[in-house]
């Protein structure tokens, strides 16, 4: 029972953190350099791994579906399957999982170490709210970068599928049929739905990472525990939210 109460308290405190943070939204023009720095850290440095991961997810998807559909002579539908899967589900979910592991963990580690070594207290004594300079630029940066990362992930995933469809003999399709099928099936709405999901997941990953980081007490071991907790909570949250957001968007 105590753990349930503690979990509910944490959810409440996370919401309070978000509300407090967005009270300072008017300071974003003054903090433009921080926003650019966070956008660079979240976006640019994550991009290579998004590209690699998405390419191979698209490839494997094409390989699996192509191999199965070939038995029915339906390999021309590979583009539709890969296109829809990437746009509506795998693109946003995989980018968010990557974000939780790569960026969320780093954000928690940085804020937890600032908390443990009293840097956050020092900010408070200077009358500089930590929500304003530590949380807000990260949350706003993720809202800008998530669509970019997801679109890149989608496009690269589609290309990965196309390469497999065109050049792997056991799949037995071709470049034109793949893209024809993809174009006929994937609607603009599918891409937008995926981007909405990505925005929601990305926002919560960074919010959870900031919340856990700023509430760390203890020393180096507790910083490590916080990083682990941040990644685990984010992963669970992404999958739980995925169900409800998908349901809402259908």
């Amino acid at each position: 029972m105590t753990q349930v109460i503690r979990a509910l308290e944490s959810i409440g405190d996370t919401v309070i953190l978000a509300v407090r943070t967005f009270r300072y939204i008017g300071t974003i023009p003054r903090q433009f350099h921080r926003l650019v720095e966070q956008a660079f850290l979240i976006g640019y440095t994550t991009l290579p791994i998004v590209v690699i991961l998405s390419f191979f997810i698209g490839s494997v998807l094409a390989l699996q579906t192509g191999y199965s559909l070939k038995g029915f002579g339906a390999q021309d539908f590979i583009g539709a399957v890969v296109g829809l899967s990437m746009a509506r589900e795998l693109g946003p979910v995989m980018v968010s999982i990557l974000l939780a592991g790569r960026v969320g963990s780093a954000v928690t580690a940085e804020l937890a170490s600032m908390q443990v070594y009293q840097e956050v207290d020092a900010l408070r004594t200077m009358n500089i709210p930590p929500e304003r300079i530590l949380v807000l630029p990260r949350l706003v940066a993720i809202l800008f970068m998530m669509p970019v990362l997801t679109i890149v992930g989608n496009v690269v995933g589609w290309l990965g599928g196309a390469v497999v469809a065109a050049y792997v003999p056991i799949v037995g399709s071709n470049w034109d049929a793949y893209f024809q099928s993809l174009r006929n099936t994937v609607q603009f709405r599918d891409v937008i739905d995926g981007l909405v999901k990505a925005e929601i997941f990305g926002f919560f990953v960074i919010l959870v990472a900031c919340f856990i980081g700023l509430n760390t007490r203890g020393g180096p071991r507790e910083i490590g525990h916080s990083v682990t907790r941040s990644v685990v909570v984010s992963l669970i949250l992404i999958l739980v939210l995925d169900y409800f957001v998908t349901r809402a968007l259908l």
Partner: protein, 270 residues
């Protein structure tokens, strides 16, 4: 490392408070952490421009009291006010410039020394960039830290980190400075220098200072009044001269602990 002695107070022209000094009052302060009581019925009146030193054994609650004085901890009962305004109200620290020099420095490790000092005036848009640069460089010069301007805190010695922490507080041009063990980990000359700076800030800029320290030399030389804290309670508040004359056994024991090899304290503690 250049040694510094601030014997001539004209050396610190820029370290003046921008506004009048403030007084601080602690009334009926009581703090529990779970089952453990850390502070019991603390009552203090600190006058504007006073240097008030709080002494006491480790674990007596001095640093927790200091954190209450700047709103980093919330009391279980009682209150702390600065010029009559409750310190737990965020508006108070918008009106009054107060700062805390942390024992471990609490410098921003991902920023250079310059950025550590420039953060407050930049964030609060107190001066333009050029003036901030001048103020920061002047403060660093006074504390013999010019060479450290581009360094990260991890590249500094313990003493230098402490001085940067004090410099960061001074750049804020505060009305109230709280120091948590400002001379610990420093060599005797640097400890004397820090004591001189605290006294100079009172004499020249009329800044109110509350200092938590074990340093008897600092306490007896620069303090206007000294408090002794024992087990979370204020045991005695008096002027340094009366403090030294006190016949209270706990005060004399704290000020002049005798090393008794025949009857060591750790055996008595058992």
């Amino acid at each position: 490392m250049t040694c510094l002695t601030v014997t001539d107070e004209s050396q610190i022209p820029s370290l003046s408070a921008s506004e009048e000094a403030v007084g601080l009052a602690v009334k009926g302060l009581h703090k529990d952490f779970g089952e453990q009581t850390v502070l019991t019925d603390i009552n203090l009146e600190i006058e504007p421009g006073e240097v008030f030193v709080i002494m006491g054994p480790s674990g007596s609650g001095k640093s927790v009291l200091l954190k209450h004085m700047i709103g980093l901890e919330y009391p279980t009962r009682g209150n702390v006010t600065i010029d009559g305004k409750p310190v737990t109200d965020p508006a108070t620290l918008l009106e009054v410039k107060a700062t805390l020099v942390f024992q471990a420095g609490a410098l921003f490790n991902s920023m250079t020394v310059f950025d550590n000092l420039a953060l407050y005036p930049t964030e609060h848009r107190i001066y333009d960039k050029k003036t901030i640069r001048e103020k920061v460089m002047e403060t660093l010069r006074i504390l013999s830290l010019e060479d450290a301007v581009g360094k990260f805190p991890s590249e500094l010695s313990g003493g230098m980190r402490k001085r940067v922490s004090i410099a960061r507080a001074l750049v804020m041009e505060p009305q109230l400075i709280l120091y948590d063990e400002p001379t610990s980990e420093l060599d005797p000359i640097m400890a004397a220098t820090i004591s001189e700076i605290i006294a100079s800030l009172r004499n020249q800029a009329h800044i109110t200072s509350v200092v938590v320290s074990h340093d008897r030399d600092l306490s007896m030389t620069i303090a206007d009044r000294v408090a002794l804290m024992l087990d979370g309670k204020i045991h005695l508040v008096d002027t340094p001269s009366n403090f030294q004359k006190s016949t209270d056994p706990q005060v004399t024991e704290f000020l002049n602990p005798k090393i008794d090899l025949a009857n060591p304290r750790y055996k008595a503690m058992k």
